[in-house]
Amino acid sequence: MTEAELIHQAQQGVTSCFTQLVVLYQPKIHSFLLARCNNPSDADDVMQETFINAHRYIKSYDDRWAFSTWLFTIAKRQLSRLKPKPHISLDEVSEPVDEGTELSDNIWPLVKQHLGETSHDLLWFFYVEGMSIKDLSQVMNQSTSWVKTNLHRSKMKLSHVPAIQQMMGK
C-alpha cells in the first residue's frame, strides 16, 4: 500500500494503516525531538502527543503538504507547550547506544546553544529533512522570505562561532 493510500485509509478510521504511518515516520520525528529537547523523556512525551494529535485530526490533513511536514508542524506546536525539565546532554545518557555512534563532538547542541531553537529547527528541517522553502514556511508558520532570510542568517552566524569553526576545521 502506498503512503497516500495509507493516509486515506487512516482518514477512514483504519487504525492499522495509521499504525503503519507511525512506524514510517517515528524515527524522523523522534530523532528531531531528541536533538531539540533537553531531556529524552520530553522527546518521548512530545512524540506521543504528536501522534495522538495526528490520529485525532487526521481527517483535517491537507494533502497539498507532505505528510511529514504536517507531522513536524504538530510536533513543533507540541514542543511550544512543553514545560522545561532539567537538561540531559547526549553524553550523560545512561542508556546504551550502538557501538561506533559518535555522540560527543556533535554539532547540533552547539547550533541550539548559539543560534537558539528556531534556527536549530530551521536548519534541521532544511538540511536533515530536506524540506523545501514552502514546506519550511508551513512548519515554521512564517513567510517564505522569512525562511530564506533566517536560513541565510543562521548559516552566517554559525560560520562565526569559534567552536563550530574549530569543529569544521578538523
Binding site: F18, T19, Q48, D98, N106, K155
Partner: protein, 117 residues
C-alpha cells in the same frame, strides 16, 4: 562561504544520524502501541469530569429544589424592601406622636360613624 556551507551541510547531516541511532536504540519500533495510543493519565481528566457530573446528579436527585439556608426568593425581598420606608417612619416616631396618631385615627373613625348615621 560556499565551501563552508557544503562542509556545514555534510556535518549537520552526519551528526543528525547520531540522533537517529540514539532514537532507534531508545525505542522498540515494533511496540507501536506505546507511541500514539493515549497514555493512561489522559483518562484521568474525563474520568474526573464524569465523576463530578455523577456526584452532582446524585446530590440533585437526593435533595431536589432545596435552597440553602438563609436564602430568600426575590419576591419576598422585594416586598420587604417596599415596606421599609413605613417601618423606618414608624421606628423614628416618638411614643407621644404615636399616641396622637392613634387618637386622631380614633376620632376620624368616630366622625365617619357619626356622618354615616
Amino acid at each position: 562561504m560556499n565551501q563552508f556551507e557544503e562542509q556545514l551541510s555534510n556535518r549537520l547531516k552526519k551528526d543528525a544520524s547520531a540522533y537517529k541511532e540514539w532514537s532507534a536504540s531508545r525505542f522498540d519500533t515494533s511496540n507501536n502501541e506505546l507511541l500514539w495510543n493515549p497514555p493512561k493519565r489522559r483518562f484521568w481528566k474525563p474520568a474526573a469530569l464524569a465523576a463530578s457530573v455523577l456526584l452532582a446528579t446524585v446530590l440533585w436527585l437526593t435533595y431536589p429544589n432545596q435552597e440553602p439556608k438563609g436564602m430568600m426568593d426575590v419576591s419576598t425581598v422585594a416586598t420587604q424592601w417596599q415596606q421599609m420606608p413605613a417601618k423606618i417612619e414608624q421606628a423614628t416616631q416618638s411614643p407621644l406622636q404615636q399616641e396622637q396618631e392613634a387618637i386622631k385615627a380614633d376620632l376620624k373613625a368616630l366622625k365617619d360613624q357619626l356622618f354615616t348615621i
